[in-house]
Subunit: 121 residues, 2 copies
DNA sequence: CTGGATCCCGAATGATACTG
DNA sequence: CAGTATCATTCGGGATCCAG
């Protein structure tokens, strides 16, 4: 994810930070608490390990996500939202979630999409 | 802006709706009230009329923005945020704006960017 | 061996320049 | 302004590497 040199507004910077295809869902899933890479891979349907790692890495660089590595066996790493940046972005995503649900209900496509929606609100 | 067929979550749908390079800033500017195309073009530095029109069109298709055409002379068109969808997304953008400002302050790059930031909070 | 992480490359998409 | 061409980025597959 390449960042621009200039932004007219701080908002644009943040928008770029979360603009990847999988970033919103990853954050949304992380809102439920710490998890491992493999658990994330299971919960987010369609994502590959590679994409997951790439997006997690970027989210860590910007400061939304942090990770903790436990040495020992079996090897274990946990990812979680940072405080306050990670927690704050969730509030923005929550609004988007609300808009999305309303939009789908209005257009009668709610069931179709809400059924798949495994990550709870 | 091509939309996907499936989304795992309504949030992703909305994220895609506003994912273009200029969409957040256009919405942010519209928050200040109705305006014409040319006024938008002036206020959003670096945008071309073509990009502006393309993104406005998409924002109208999704329902964030509406336009009103005044017949008469000179010909006049005004764009504005829809209610409630347009107004709601502003709340999400406001959070991003806040995160962005905090981030820039922490990294000592606040002045540099905040100076350019012509659109008021 | 297992789970976590990186590299290389082609295909799809987005942004912008160019043109009528 | 719309249509097309061009250029930069992003996505995703697959191989591969690294560390307990």
């Amino acid at each position: 994810m390449k960042m621009r040199e200039d932004y007219t507004c701080p908002l644009e910077l943040v928008h770029d930070m979360i603009k990847g295809k999988w970033k919103p869902i990853i954050l949304w899933r992380l809102r439920l608490g710490k998890t491992s890479l493999s658990k994330l891979e299971q919960d987010i349907q369609g994502i590959t390990q590679k994409m997951l790692l790439q997006h997690l890495k970027e989210l860590m660089e910007y400061g939304f996500v942090e990770k903790q590595t436990y040495s020992g066996y079996p090897l274990h790493v946990e990812y979680y939202l940072s405080d306050p940046m990670g927690k704050e972005i969730i509030e923005a995503l929550r609004i988007m979630q609300h808009i999305g649900i309303t939009y789908l209900e209005k257009n009668g496509k709610a069931e179709e999409l809400l059924k798949k929606h495994i990550i709870p609100d």
